[in-house]
């Protein structure tokens, strides 16, 4: 049941409904940015625009970057990012679950750029990868269709201990 899977969100170790959807800009109609209503995710490129175009935005947005993206793009404006209250989370969209770049990006966002807010994994996210993802600093997950979020929640607790003390603990 792909729909219901995508409509569930694992967040802070619990299942929640997922109200978030990606805003599709329509430049022809002059709509580059989402309206100031809840639940919009935007791509990284749009966020830069939004930063300047909607200084007083009330409803927070989620910023999505692909797993092969460059987080320095995002973090060029790290200060602004932290200062603004209108970023709900940063999401990394996994093109394939085996795209290891997303794991390094996440951990760099946490460790080097100091992003302490919510970090979400979306795209090709498997029951079998959430444990690694959590240890790289992800705190919320939207599962790939066919991957039961309830099982994924359990698999976050697949390992009670770990090596690599420098990384996050998967059981939040």
């Amino acid at each position: 049941m792909p729909e219901s899977a995508a409509s569930k969100l694992i967040r802070n170790g619990q299942l929640e409904d997922n109200p978030w959807r990606l805003y599709q800009p329509d430049p022809a109609a002059g709509c580059a940015l989402p309206p100031d209503t809840p639940g919009w995710m935007i791509e990284l490129s749009s966020w830069k625009e939004l930063l300047h175009a909607q200084p007083g935005r009330k409803c927070p947005v989620g910023i999505v970057m692909p797993s092969d993206g460059d987080c320095s793009d995002l973090m060029l404006d790290a200060e602004a990012l932290h200062a603004r209250k209108d970023v709900a989370f940063i999401a990394i969209q996994f093109l394939q679950y085996g795209d290891g770049r997303g794991y390094s990006l996440a951990w760099m966002l946490r460790q080097e750029y100091g992003w302490s807010g919510e970090l979400r994994a979306v795209g090709d996210v498997l029951i079998d990868t959430v444990h690694y993802l959590a240890r790289c600093g992800f705190t919320s997950f939207v599962m790939k269709p066919g991957h039961d979020p309830a099982l994924a929640l359990e698999s976050l607790r697949a390992f009670s201990g770990h090596y690599q003390p420098g990384y996050a603990n998967s059981v939040a």
């Binding site: 085996g98 794991y103 951990w107 690694y132 090596y163 690599q164």
Partner: protein, 575 residues
């Protein structure tokens, strides 16, 4: 050897449970074939030509007798009563059924063994010198460092999905028996101003694009080892190519960026994470060191020249080739040859495993090692026990006196088992072994490494064999290309160009490929030429190739009307 604590044991048991769940979901159709592939590979399970192949990790080659007994039991219950040791110091079983694999892993976990990261695009089993801790020429014992790297790399959350597989080797001796120059990362443990640290090579590797590694950091303090490895891996993980699996190894990234630029990128990143939470502390080092036990040697004197005097010719021959100098007076390290003529190189039967386990208990503190040349090593044998040990090994077909010699062939499973193969390798190894079955002649020829790979993935490291043989496909037929002059260590360090870490050197192709039936004769011609050209018995095969180049060998092999008088050469050698 290292003994698991609760954390280690818990992790492997939980990994079994996780894999059991994954296998069940796959068999129930809840996990797609594509999604399962990477997951099973991360746990050592291939689906290949005849049936699945399960590769079990033997961390840096160290094995206890009770573990070997368990491997024997597994091979009887789920395989056909034998196992195959690989060049990464691991063991493979070729016949298990997919649905049985979780049970096999559960059995392995009862003796602190697993199959984690024995394949897939992740950090593989770290390898080292098979004489680590006992070699007479050792500077730093690498075993504790190997264990630190093992723990760090197992289930590493950031580096579970690299562009391609990643292999690390550690050497701590004057002679590099770990081939650090042909690994993704090669570490040479050393001491500088009283402090232990590592020289770091990156970007070595064989396969389709064989390259010798580059030294990118002359000295990394031990405290910084893991943060430095983390920096190298992160640069690779972010920037290694993912669009073409033949260009995805770190060696290609290092080559494309140039070693200097790569080193600079690593350095810049490392400066940001150095002294961070992955820095090794004295307390962590102590914790791991305390989980090791070491042999309690008796105070003994060396026997004459380190080995017993004997008039038994067969025993003397074995002493010469299969027994190695030990740092402890009165002791020796013994290679158990898995290179008898007949079985595939590296193959061992369940009975032989039990025999070696028994002998390890009786003569070598219950421990043994797997060498990357696919033999076993009993590392701590009293010299006065050597004769009894030899007799026992001989009785089980494990005393072939050929370590370091031509018939100690390193060979991959090749076309008989591996679906990637272009050509068979095991029958070729056997034919060469038959050609050189005269043991006196074999010993006269002296040190010679011969490696056979069934395709250019080069699992048997044919590029660093003194003689390398590679199976190639020509219009659907099996052909074999021959290289000459490769070596895993010992080349003149002062030279530049092809000479790399630890003195590794890649062999050169001597010319057009041969049919399978020609190979024993080709090797014979190479050997005959060597015997004619050497200035004395002390000038080994590889030395002559280095001194004279490959031209004379080439001529001998390809000459139209060559009449290499093999018989005469044999007589000369005996003279």
């Amino acid at each position: 050897m290292y003994h698991y604590d609760e954390l280690d044991q818990g992790l492997i048991e939980q990994r079994v449970a996780q894999f059991r769940g994954q296998t069940r979901r796959f068999l129930d159709g809840r996990l797609s074939e594509d999604d399962f592939r990477t997951l099973r590979l991360q746990n050592g399970l291939y689906i290949q030509r005849h049936s699945p192949m399960l590769r079990v990790a033997i961390p840096y080659g160290m094995l206890a007798s009770y573990q070997l007994r368990k491997l024997a039991e597994i091979s009887r219950r789920w395989d056909k009563g034998y196992g195959h040791f690989t060049t990464r110091q691991n063991i493979q079983f070729n016949w298990p059924k997919l649905e049985d694999v979780p049970d096999i892993l559960a059995e392995l976990a009862t003796v602190q063994m697993h199959a984690i990261q024995t394949s897939g695009n992740c950090i593989r089993n770290t390898t080292t010198d098979h004489l680590a801790g006992v070699a007479a020429d050792e500077v730093i014992n690498p075993l504790i460092w190997c264990e630190i790297i093992r723990q760090w790399s197992v289930l590493h959350p950031e580096f579970a999905f690299l562009p391609r597989k990643f292999k690390i080797a550690v050497s701590g001796a004057a002679t590099d028996r770990a081939a650090v120059g042909v690994h993704d990362i090669g570490l040479q443990a050393m001491e500088q101003e009283g402090e232990v640290g590592f020289r770091v090579w990156v970007g070595g590797g064989l396969g389709r694009t064989p390259l010798v590694g580059h030294s990118i950091k002359p000295f990394v303090r031990w405290q910084d080892l893991l943060t430095y490895l983390q920096a190298v891996l992160r640069i690779y993980n972010l920037h290694g190519r993912r669009d073409n699996k033949y260009k995805a190894r770190i060696k290609i990234l290092v080559k494309d960026l140039t070693p200097a630029v790569f080193a600079q990128e690593v350095e810049t990143l490392w400066q940001r994470i150095k002294d961070g939470p992955d820095t090794i502390t004295q307390a962590q080092l102590q914790r791991i060191a305390h989980l090791f036990t070491w042999p309690e040697y008796e105070a003994l004197e060396d026997e004459h020249a380190g080995v017993p005097a004997t008039s038994n010719r067969a025993f003397a021959r074995w002493l010469r080739s299969n027994v190695h100098k030990h740092k402890q007076p009165g002791y020796a390290a013994v290679s158990v040859s898995l290179k008898a003529t007949g079985p595939a190189p590296g193959d061992i039967t369940a009975e032989q495993m039990e025999c070696v386990a028994e002998l390890a208990d009786r003569y070598s503190f219950g421990e043994l090692r797997v060498s990357h040349e696919q033999n076993l090593v009993l590392a701590d044998v009293r010299q006065r026990d050597l004769f009894a040990l030899w007799q026992a090994l001989d009785g089980s077909g494990l005393a072939t006196p050929n370590i370091g010699l031509l018939t100690n062939i390193v060979s991959c499973p090749g076309g008989d088992y591996c679906s990637l193969a272009n050509a068979a390798s095991i029958p070729v190894a056997r034919a060469i072994q038959q050609q050189f079955d005269d043991l006196d002649y074999l010993h006269d020829i002296g040190p010679l490494d011969l490696n056979i790979s069934g395709c250019m993935n080069a699992c048997s490291h044919h590029h660093i064999g003194h003689i390398g043989i590679l199976g190639v496909d020509k219009n659907g037929q099996e052909w074999y290309q021959v290289t000459l002059g490769g070596r895993q260590n010992g080349a003149n360090q002062g030279r530049v160009g092809r000479v790399g870490a630890g003195g590794a050197l890649l062999g050169r192709v001597i010319g057009p490929a041969f049919a399978r039936a020609q190979i024993p004769e080709v090797v014979q011609k190479l050997v005959t030429t060597y015997l004619q050209l050497r200035d004395s018995e002390n000038e080994h095969f590889i030395d002559v190739v280095e001194r004279l180049g490959i031209e004379s060998f080439k001529q001998a092999v390809y000459a139209k009307h060559a009449e290499p008088d093999d018989q005469k050469a044999k007589e000369m050698a005996h003279a």
